[in-house]
C-alpha cells in the first residue's frame, strides 16, 4: 500500500516536474516568438509602421537587458490591410506556420473580432488588441478569456468627456460628430449612457471615414446651438471642423477622443485649435512619469525621427509593457496557460505607462480610467487626474 502511494506520489512529482519544463510552441531556449497583425497596406498603414516600431524599441530595450527569463523576445508582423478575412489568414499563418507563442496587438475592431474563433480553437492568448472597442473586454463574448484588453473603450472616453463638460457648465448643449463605423458606434454607446445619467440629449452628426468636408456637420452644430462639441475622429476631422467653425464664425469648445491626441492636430489647426481638449488612456509621452521618461530616453538613444514620435509610436511602446509583463509572469518555462494565469494575478499594477491596471478572471479590461489633456500653446497639458 505504502509502496503504491509513494509510487503514485513520485510519478506525480516527476510528471509535474516534466509539466513544468514543457513550454508552448514559439518558445526556444533563447527566444520567444510573438505574432503581431497590423495594417501595412490598408487605410491606416501609417499606424502599421509606427506601432510595431514603438513596440520593437521597447523589446530591444528589454532584450538588451537580457530578455525575459533569459529569452529574447522576437516579434513577427503580418499584414491584414484592414480586412478581417486577411486577418484570419494571417492569424492562422502565425499560429500554425510560424508557431508563435501568443498574438499581440492585432489592430482594428473587425480584424480582432474575426480571429476570436481561432483563439478559441487554438488557445492562443491575444495581448493588447489595438482597438478601443469595449466589446473586446466583454467577458460574455466568444474567446473572451484569451483576450487581454488594454485600451479604454471609446464609450468610456465619451462618457468621461460629457461628465467633464457638464461639471464645468451644467447648461452646456453638447454635440458629437462621430465616424460612421464601429469607432462611432462605440462612442455613441458611451453617449447614450451619459444621456441616461444626466437626462440630457446630445446632438449627433455623422461623417464617413476619409471625408474631407465637414461644413454640413459644423453648420448643424451651430444651428442646434451646441456650446461644446465632441469630435470622434483622428487628425483631419478635428482640424477641419475647428477651422471650418472659425471660418463661419461659430465659436464653441471642441473636444476629441483618444486618437485626436496627436501632435499634428495642434500643428495643423494653429490658433483654431488652441484650447482643444482630448482624453487619453495612458500617460502622455510628454509627461514626467517613469514610462514617458524612458520613452523619451530610448527615442533619443535610437535616433527616432521626430515625425515618427508621438501618439502611435508611443502606443506601441506602452502596450509592449503589458506583453513583457505577461511573459515574465508566465515563468521560466512559459506556456500560454501560465501566461494568462499570470496576467490575471495583476492587481493595480503600475506599469509606468498606463494607470494602475487590474486583470482577473472576470475582468480583462486593462485601463478603465482616462486623463483629460488640453492643447495649450501647441502642447498637450494634463488638466485633470485619472477619471472614470
Amino acid at each position: 500500500m505504502k509502496r503504491t502511494v509513494s509510487i503514485i506520489i513520485i510519478t506525480a512529482l516527476i510528471w509535474m516536474g516534466c509539466e513544468n519544463r514543457t513550454t508552448s510552441p514559439g518558445v526556444t531556449d533563447t527566444e520567444i516568438l510573438v505574432g503581431n497583425i497590423q495594417d501595412l497596406s490598408g487605410p491606416i498603414k501609417e499606424l502599421g509602421l509606427l506601432i510595431p516600431a514603438g513596440t520593437n524599441m521597447y523589446l530591444d530595450y528589454i532584450n538588451a537587458q537580457g530578455g525575459v527569463h533569459g529569452r529574447q523576445v522576437k516579434m513577427v508582423v503580418e499584414d491584414h490591410g484592414y480586412n478581417p478575412m486577411k486577418a484570419v489568414v494571417a492569424a492562422k499563418k502565425l499560429i500554425e506556420k510560424d508557431q508563435v507563442f501568443c498574438l499581440y496587438n492585432v489592430i482594428g475592431t473587425s480584424p480582432a473580432e474575426a480571429i476570436r474563433p481561432i483563439l478559441e480553437e487554438s488557445g492562443v492568448p491575444l495581448i493588447a488588441p489595438a482597438t478601443n472597442s469595449s466589446s473586446m473586454s466583454d467577458m460574455s463574448r466568444q474567446a473572451a478569456k484569451y483576450i487581454f484588453h488594454t485600451d479604454a473603450g471609446y464609450d468610456l472616453q465619451t462618457r468621461v468627456l460629457i461628465d467633464y463638460i457638464l461639471e464645468n457648465n451644467p447648461e452646456a448643449k453638447i454635440g458629437i460628430a462621430y465616424q460612421d463605423d464601429d469607432y462611432g458606434a462605440n462612442a455613441l454607446k458611451g453617449c447614450a449612457e451619459a444621456e441616461a445619467n444626466h437626462g440630457i440629449s446630445v446632438q449627433k452628426e455623422s461623417f464617413q471615414r476619409g471625408a474631407t468636408d465637414f461644413v454640413g456637420q459644423t453648420m448643424n452644430f451651430m444651428k442646434g446651438g451646441c456650446t461644446d462639441v465632441i469630435i470622434g475622429g483622428v487628425v483631419r476631422e478635428p482640424v477641419t471642423i475647428m477651422k471650418t467653425a472659425q471660418a463661419i464664425g461659430y465659436s464653441a469648445a471642441f473636444y476629441g477622443l483618444g486618437p485626436t491626441v496627436d501632435p499634428r492636430v495642434g500643428l495643423l489647426a494653429g490658433e483654431a485649435g488652441e484650447g482643444f481638449i482630448a482624453v487619453y488612456w495612458a500617460y502622455y509621452p510628454d509627461s514626467d512619469e517613469p514610462g514617458p521618461v524612458l520613452y523619451q530616453e530610448l527615442c533619443e538613444k535610437n535616433n527616432v525621427p521626430a515625425k515618427m514620435r508621438g501618439l502611435y509610436h508611443y502606443y506601441g511602446f506602452a502596450t509592449a509593457h503589458v506583453l513583457v509583463e505577461g511573459l515574465r509572469k508566465a515563468g521560466k518555462y512559459p506556456t500560454r496557460k501560465r501566461m494568462m494565469k499570470g496576467l490575471e494575478t495583476l492587481h493595480n499594477w503600475e506599469s509606468g505607462v498606463f494607470p494602475p491596471m487590474t486583470y482577473n478572471r472576470n475582468d480583462h479590461a486593462g485601463v478603465e480610467s482616462v486623463i483629460i489633456l488640453q492643447l495649450q500653446g501647441g502642447k498637450q497639458v494634463a488638466i485633470t487626474d485619472w477619471r472614470n
Binding site: 499584414d79 500554425e96 460612421d180
Partner: protein
C-alpha cells in the same frame, strides 16, 4: 454555337474530383501547419462558387458586375439571421438564402435592362455601397458596424466545426455548383446567354426576350453568390461590413478574368490562382525579399499583386484557361506549329 473555348474532352474530371477529396490528407501528411493551407483552400472554394456564378453573368451574358461582394454579404447576413435569430436549420437556410439573394439580384438586374456596359459596372458598384450601408442601418439584426458572430454549420445533425470538416463541406458544394454551372452553360439557356452577349440586337431579332433572360442571369448569378454567402458566414463564424469591401468585388472580376472570361473552368482556375497567389505565394516571396531589401512589406505585397495582374492582362488576355488550351493545341500539333501563332 459554342463557348469561347471548346471544352470537350475533359475525361479526367472524375480523377480531379478524387484529387480534390484526397488533397487534405496529402497536406496533412506533408506539413504540420496544414490547417493554415486548408483555410486558404476553403476560402478559394467559397469564392469559386461565387465566381462561377459571376462568370455566368459577366462572361456568358456579358453583363458587368462590380457588386458581387454585396451579394455575398446579403447571403452571409441573411443566413446568419435566419439560422441564429429565426432558428431555421442550416439545411433550410442553404435553400432559402440563395433564393432571397437571387431576388436581390433581380432588383439590381432591373436597372440593367436600361443601363449597359460601363454604366452597369459602376451602378452595381454603387449597389455594393448601398448594401454595405443598409447592413449598418439595420443594426438590430446585423449588429451594425461591430459585426456579427455566426454559429457553426450543422449538416444533418453533424456539426461542421473545424477547417478539416469545412473543407469537405465547401468542396462538395463547390463541385455541385461547378457541375450545375456547366449544365446551364451547355443547355439552351446558356446558348441564349451567349447570344445576348455576342449581339443583343441579333438575339432580339431571333425572338429572344432579352429582358427576361438578363433578369434570369442576374437571378442565377445571385443564387450562386447567396450560396457562397451561406458557407462564408458559417465557416468564418464572424462577418462584418469590412469583409465585403468594394475591392473584393473587383477581385472577383479579376479572378474571372485571370481564369479566362466565358469559361467555367477558367473561373475556377482563376479563383484558385488569385487566392493562392495573394495569400501564399506573395507572402512567401515577400518574406525573403523584405529581409534583404528592407521594404515596407504591406505595400510591396500589393505592388507585386498589381504587377502580376497587369502583366497577366497584357500578355495573357485569354486567361489561364486559354493558356492551357493553347498549350494543349501546341502539343497536339507539336512538330507542325506555324511560326508566331502561339505567342
Amino acid at each position: 454555337m459554342k463557348g469561347r473555348y471548346d471544352d470537350e474532352n475533359l475525361k479526367w474530371i472524375p480523377i480531379l474530383i478524387i484529387a480534390v477529396y484526397l488533397s487534405p490528407f496529402l497536406l496533412k501528411s506533408a506539413t504540420f501547419s496544414y490547417k493554415y493551407y486548408l483555410y486558404i483552400l476553403n476560402m478559394a472554394g467559397i469564392y469559386m462558387i461565387l465566381t462561377v456564378g459571376l462568370d455566368l453573368l459577366s462572361g456568358f451574358t456579358g453583363l458587368m458586375s462590380l457588386g458581387h461582394a454585396a451579394f455575398l454579404a446579403i447571403g452571409a447576413y441573411t443566413s446568419a439571421i435566419l439560422v441564429d435569430q429565426a432558428g431555421l436549420p442550416f439545411e433550410l437556410s442553404l435553400i432559402i438564402t440563395p433564393v432571397i439573394v437571387g431576388l436581390c439580384g433581380l432588383m439590381i438586374g432591373f436597372p440593367a435592362l436600361r443601363i449597359e456596359g460601363m454604366y452597369l459596372g459602376l451602378t452595381t458598384m454603387g449597389f455594393g455601397f448601398i448594401v454595405k450601408r443598409l447592413i449598418i442601418a439595420f443594426r438590430d439584426w446585423t449588429g451594425g458596424s461591430a459585426g456579427l458572430q455566426v454559429s457553426k454549420a450543422t449538416l444533418f445533425g453533424f456539426t461542421i466545426s473545424n477547417d478539416w470538416n469545412n473543407y469537405f463541406m465547401i468542396y462538395t458544394f463547390a463541385i455541385i455548383a461547378i457541375i450545375v454551372a456547366r449544365r446551364i452553360v451547355k443547355s439552351k439557356l446558356g446558348r441564349v446567354f451567349m447570344a445576348i452577349r455576342d449581339s443583343e440586337q441579333a438575339a432580339q431579332a431571333s425572338g429572344i426576350n432579352i429582358a427576361k433572360y438578363k433578369m434570369l442571369s442576374f437571378f442565377i448569378s445571385g443564387m450562386f453568390a447567396g450560396f457562397a454567402g451561406v458557407l462564408f458566414a458559417h465557416t468564418n463564424h464572424f462577418i462584418s461590413t469590412d469583409h465585403f469591401d468594394i475591392l473584393l468585388s473587383v477581385y472577383f472580376i479579376v479572378m474571372v478574368l485571370v481564369g479566362g472570361v466565358g469559361s467555367i473552368y477558367g473561373a475556377v482556375l482563376g479563383t484558385l490562382f488569385i487566392v493562392l497567389m495573394e495569400n501564399m505565394f506573395i507572402p512567401l516571396f515577400k518574406d525573403t525579399l523584405t529581409q534583404y531589401m528592407h521594404l515596407e512589406a504591406g505595400d510591396f505585397q500589393a505592388f507585386i499583386f498589381g504587377l502580376i495582374m497587369l502583366l497577366f492582362i497584357i500578355f495573357q488576355p485569354m486567361g489561364l484557361y486559354g493558356m492551357w488550351l493553347k498549350m494543349r493545341i501546341y502539343w497536339k500539333l507539336f512538330p507542325f506549329n506555324p511560326r508566331k501563332r502561339f505567342t
